[in-house]
Each structure stands twice: as C-alpha cells, then as structure tokens.
Amino acid sequence: MTSASREKKERGWFKEEFGNPERRMAYYMVLPAVLIIVVIAFFPVLYGVVLSFTDSTVTAFGSFVGLENYVEMFQDPDFLVGLSNTVIFTVVSVTLEFIFGLGIALAVNRAFRGRGLVRAAILVPWAFPTVISAVMWRLMFQPGIGIFQYVAQSIGIISGPVLSDPTLLLIAAILIDVWKTTPFMALLLLAGLQVIPGEVYEAARVDGANVYQRFFRITLPLLKGAILVAVLFRTLDAYRIYDLFYAFGAKELQSLSTYVYEGVRISQLQFGPGNAAAVFIFVTAFLIALFFIKVLGMRTSTEE
C-alpha cells in the first residue's frame, strides 16, 4: 500500500468500509460472533470493573473509593501468594505442555501401527470430566489411601503428606494440569502439522536436508500460526486457573482466581479486593495477549 493510496483511504474510510458491498459482507460475517460476545459479556465485565472502584458489598452498592480496593489487594498476602503461584504455574505448565504436546503431535503424525488407538488414548486426560478429576486426584494423593502419595513416599522423594505442603501441592497441581491439558496442545499442533503438505518435505529431502533441518526450517515455521494460538490460549487458561486449585488444594493452594472467588462469593468483606483482583486478571491477561501479538509476531490479519 503506497502512502498515496493510504491517504486516500483515510479520507474516505467510512464510505470505503461500509459503502463497498464486499466489505459490508465481511462485517456481516463477523457481526454475529462479535455481537454474541459483546452483548453477553459486556455488562458483567463492566459491572465488575465498576464494583472494583467502590466499597460495595454483595448486597449493597457502595460509594466510590478510588483505588482503595487495589491497594488493599496488593497488600494482602493471600493475593501475593496467589499471584506467585499463578505465574509459576502458568509458565511451567504451559512450557511442559508445549514440549510434550509437540512431541506427541509429531509422533502421532507419522503412520505407524496402532496409531488410531494411540490417538484415542492420548486424548483420555482431556476428556476426563474436570469436576470429578480434581476430587479423584485429591483421593489419589490422600495420605494412606492415595496411590500417588503412597508411591512417592515409598520411593522416598517426599516425607509428608503432599496435601499439606504448599510447594508440593503446587508441583502436584502442575503435573496434574500437564497430564490433563497436553492432549489439547497435541491436538492443536497435530491439526497444524496435518495442513503442511507432504510435498514440501519431499522437496526438502531431495535437496538434501536432514531431520533436524527439516524440523527447524520447515516444520516449525509452518507450524508457527498454530503454535502461537495454542500457546496463547493455554497461557490465558492457565492464568485463570481455578477449579484445579480449589478442589484439589482445598484452600491450601491459592491462585488469582481462587482469590477472586473467595472475595466475591464467600467472604463479605473481601468483595472489593476480590473484584479488583478480577480486573487485575483482566488487565494483565490483556497485556499477555498483547505481548503475543506484538512481540511474538502473532498476526491478526492477512494484511502484511
């Protein structure tokens, strides 16, 4: 696009956008999805943001208090623990899920005997109902009756109940989440791999490229789009982790979202900081996404 045509665009952009039938069609196509999201989510998100600046309680709408809730939140040790747990959890689990997911996707992408069954088996963790998952895992780590607690203790890597130690709990939660969500990553990456035409590899082999070169020069770049989407969404999900920490850790494991939940649903006095934390999650998640888009070069449109 030359600067001349760009100027022309800016001057008459409204007509250009909505006067052009093709453009209008594009907007129509995008409209339903955007509309659903905005209509449903707009009010609740706005509600939460407004509440975070007031001293409201669950029942009564309060008065404007500026940044008081945020200050209280940042000084609350529970919040800080939740923040650190969440960040560690997100970074470690997403990294592991990516590595294992990519490995599985590459493995399953080849043709080998039993591939169909392997693909089905790999998906089991993701299909397992989340609401029971945390409860079952808690039983598996329960001192005395839990198989994992028993094995780990027998091997000697831990000495006390996992469920009582915040660090061990976090590690266990990370492992459980990696178990559960690697299939998600693997599935996305597999789909990405399947779109790469076989001819590209053939051509490269003919040119004399070895396995590593093929992987790093062909596979990874062509997979970049799928990788970035997968990693971005996993990061956002991990950042908002709630069910796993709450049900598995039974209040011993704090995350940003459990902090929000306690503030907004259980406690009466932490309602303000709870909402502030929700907004905090919102803003920081936005920054994370921005990072992915701008810095990691995730493209949002076809316009180069």
Binding site: I37, A41, F128, I132, M140, G144, I147, L188, F282
Partner: protein
C-alpha cells in the same frame, strides 16, 4: 509422512530408533490412561478396599454396586442426554458463527480486523467466577434461566475466541490463490470452496469441533448456576450429587466418570479419522 517411510528402512540404527519411538509412545499412552484405569478400579471395588491403607494395586474385593447405582439412575441417564444436547448445540453454533467470522477475517479485506480479533479474545481475559453473578442477573431478566439456552449461550461465548483464532490461523495458511487456481481448472466458486478450501481447512475445523464439544461437555460453573433441576442439568452437575449430606459415594462418582469419558474418546476417535481423510483428498497438486 516422509520421515515415516525413511524410518521403515531396516538398518540397525533405524530399528533402534523405531524401538525407542515405540517406547516413547508407550510411555505417553500409559501416563495418559493410567489415572482412568485407576478410577475404573475405584468403581469396581468395595468401599472398604477403596479406603484401604496402603492402597492395593490390583483390585481384590470386587463389587458391582457402584455400577448398578450409576446405570440404574434415571437422573444420570437424563443428564447424559442433557450434556449431549448442550455440547452438540454449542459446538454447531460455535462452528457456524466462528467459521464465518474467521473466514471473513482471514480471507477478506476490511479495516478494524485487529480490533475485532482483540475484542473477541477479550472474553478470555476475564475469570468466569467473577462474572457468574451478573450473568445470572442478566439471564433472569431475559427469562432464560433454567433452560438450555442460558448455558449454551455462555458456553458459546467462551468457546468462540479459540474457535475463531484457530480457524483464522488455518484459513490464513491456505495459499492465497487457491480459489483462483481451482477456478482456472474449471471449478465454479462453490466447487472451489467445497473441494479445495474445506478439505484443507478440515483439520482445523474438526479439531475446534472436538475441543468445543469437550469444553462444553466438561463445563460446570455455568451449568451449576443457571440450571435448577434434573430435566436440564448435565452430567457435570449431577455426578457430584452421588452423595448425601453425610457421605460421598466415591465409587459411584468414579463409575460415572468412566461412563462419561469413554464415549467422548470414542467420539473423538471417529472424528479424527475424518481429519486424515480430509487431507488425502489430494487437494493440492502442484
């Protein structure tokens, strides 16, 4: 695919690679499946053995009680139907609106693409637990509380971002002149779409379909809050109720979990075949 045929050649080194490969695969399969096997074991042993210290590896006292409780429970049966309806409709709606929007974003020209994409993504920034109360108020005002609609709409809203972003990524990978090339070969526009674009995008479409279905199937928070009675509640809400005020029937919950997981996996197995066959339609030739 190329590397697979290469590995088929039988030098000693290649055989070692194959063995390592199978070991690697076997480990992953075992790790993935073991907890389900353990939960299955929980569902077929007596309560006494369930709480045995130390835990037994192989089941010893078998009991069919958990399974008979679960399979005979009409609430659970109804819940399976509810889950299927909610997940199915969510997936269809999501795919429909999602793929239309993704296609427009990926292949058509208009301004504000970045804004639109970010707006769609924005719902993924907000923790579900924080907006549950205002959502409830909204839906009560509109009168759809205690209907499938409330949960389907919410699930769609939360599944759309991934659907759209993923499909955009896939549609964008398709060569720019694909439609043109097909038409040069004599296809009409519609044929071009059906025979060229759709099969190539199939992996992405089916993958999002699977992921959306499973997401809606496992969703708990919204279903629990918006649905009041058994006629609409899905399995995620019903399973924890295999409990009384005083005890929790872990055995039945374990059995129910197995009942709920295995069909999902089979469903996915069926769909995954379609991903592969979509590719071998031989769409891209030169």
């Amino acid at each position: 695919m190329a590397s697979a045929t290469a590995a088929g050649k039988g030098t000693g080194r290649r055989s070692l690679n194959m063995v390592l490969f199978y070991v690697f695969v076997a480990i992953f399969v075992f790790v993935s499946v073991f907890p389900l096997l353990w939960v299955f074991k929980m569902s077929i042993v007596t309560k006494t053995e369930l709480f045995a210290t130390p835990p037994t590896i192989l089941p010893q006292d078998l009991s069919g009680d958990s399974w008979s409780t679960v399979l005979g429970d009409s609430t659970f049966q109804r819940a399976l139907i509810n889950s299927s309806i909610i997940s199915g409709v969510t997936t269809v709606i999501c795919l429909f609106f999602g793929s239309i929007a993704a296609y427009a974003i990926a292949r058509m020209r208009f301004r504000f693409k970045g804004t639109v994409m970010t707006l769609i993504l924005a719902i993924s920034f907000f923790p579900g637990v924080a907006i549950i109360a205002p959502l409830f108020i909204q839906f009560t005002a509109v009168g759809i509380i205690d209907t499938y609609a409330a949960v389907i709409i919410t699930d769609t809203v939360f599944a759309l971002p991934l659907t759209i972003w993923l499909l955009v990524a896939f549609f964008r990978e398709l060569p720019v002149d694909l439609e043109d090339a097909a038409k040069v070969d004599g296809a009409t526009t519609i044929q071009a779409f059906r025979k060229v674009i759709v099969p190539l995008a199939a992996p992405g479409v089916f993958t999002t379909a699977i992921l959306t279905f499973i997401f809606a199937w496992n969703e708990f928070l919204f279903a629990n809050t918006f649905l009041f009675d058994e006629s609409t509640q899905p399995v995620t809400v019903v399973i924890p109720n295999f409990a009384t005020i005083y005890t929790v029937d872990y055995g039945s919950q374990a059995a129910a979990s197995v009942v709920v997981t295995v069909p999902l996996v089979i469903l996915v197995l069926i769909f995954q075949r379609r991903i592969v066959s979509g590719l071998t339609a031989g769409a891209v030739k030169g």
